[in-house]
């Protein structure tokens, strides 16, 4: 599969999901089960992505500068800092630890 076809396929599928929401009758929303699964699906995917992005390196699990960076990010989120502050701080922590050679 080429990169372009993957980009277009994923983008069109996401756009189609939004459109479907406007075509489905609203009373289906009353059913608690699909609504609950939709919410939890978002949580599970994001949490799994946090784990993989923090620990994964291809098919191996590694401990490196990303762990202290993500801990700093969690602390800043707890202090209700904005998305941009959190992301920049995490990058800065990892970059700095690598620069001074405390972590890989």
């Amino acid at each position: 599969m080429s990169l372009w076809s993957a980009v277009l396929l994923a983008a069109c599928a996401c756009a189609a999901l939004k459109a479907f929401g406007y075509l489905i009758p609203a009373h289906l929303l009353e059913a608690p089960r699909p609504a609950r699964i939709s919410d939890l699906l978002t949580v599970a995917l994001l949490a799994a992505l946090v784990a993989v992005q923090t620990l994964g390196n291809g098919q191996s699990v590694v401990v490196d500068a990303r762990i202290p960076a993500v801990l700093v990010a969690a602390g800043l989120l707890y202090l209700r800092q904005s998305f941009l502050v959190v992301v920049i701080a995490a990058a800065a922590v990892a970059a700095l630890l690598r620069l001074i050679g405390w972590a890989v």
């Binding site: 990169l3 939890l40 978002t42 990892a94 970059a95 700095l96």
Partner: protein
């Protein structure tokens, strides 16, 4: 008219905050292997931040072999927009073009600002101001970030791999209010991390999604019904 001005202010504020982190998306996308055009197409056509970050995150971790998983992760994260569309549908009104445009700008932020308002006309206003504002801003900053990422060189030296992890954590954070959500989040993270050495990059994330379906189906850890879309602070697009 005072109320309408307040809605404008809220919508524009959310749009500015959200657009600001389009820069981080653009930079991460090009360092994960997309070119500037592909990055911009994602922001124009996909236009849902969580899915966009997931797509480039899985691609960056697993390369071309992980493309099917990257697509699946992005699409599964986009499922919540379907629920938002159902919520917004009666508020938006009729007309093919109006509803098509509304569907495209149906994201966390526009839905959240809309349903926070007190009357149907204010909800419509909040939805359109936020939706169009984020669309314009997010696409401009994506391009800016992509051009910036192109000249950065080694992404690890700049801590961009850590930035990607932090971005997912920031998108997740406002959703961890109920016990059920926290339980699912912890379980999904453990499942994904422990499967990483054994299966192809990208797949652990999809297997973790099964946790959500099981817990949601049987309503373990007793949830209290659907959470509201996350708001302001630029939590997620």
């Amino acid at each position: 008219m005072y109320e309408r001005r307040e809605v404008w202010r809220e919508g524009v504020g959310v749009a500015l905050a959200t657009s600001a982190y389009g820069i981080s998306f653009g930079a991460l996308a090009v360092t994960s292997g997309l070119d500037v055009w592909q990055t911009c197409v994602l922001s124009v056509l996909m236009f849902t931040g969580g899915s966009q970050f997931a797509f480039v995150g899985v691609l960056g971790a697993g390369g071309m072999a992980a493309l099917p998983s990257a697509i699946a992760s992005a699409v599964l994260l986009g499922v919540r927009n379907l629920a938002y569309g159902m919520r917004m549908s009666p508020i938006i009104g009729s007309g093919f073009w109006r509803r098509s445009a509304a569907a495209h700008v149906t994201i966390d932020e526009s839905t959240a600002v809309a349903i926070a308002q007190s009357s149907p006309s204010l909800r419509r206003l909040g939805f359109w101001v936020t939706g169009i504002g984020v669309f314009v801003g997010w696409n401009l900053t994506t391009l800016l970030g992509a051009l910036l990422g192109d000249v950065l060189g080694d992404p690890k030296a700049w801590g961009l791999d850590a930035a990607a992890a932090a971005a997912f954590l920031a998108l997740l954070w406002p959703r961890l209010k109920q016990r059920q959500a926290i339980a699912v989040g912890v379980a999904a993270a453990v499942v994904a991390a422990s499967l990483t050495p054994f299966i192809m990059p990208g797949l652990p994330v999809l297997v973790a999604a099964v946790v959500a379906i099981a817990v949601g189906w049987f309503n373990w850890f007793e949830g209290e019904g659907p959470a509201q879309p996350t708001q302001a602070r630029g939590a997620s697009t």
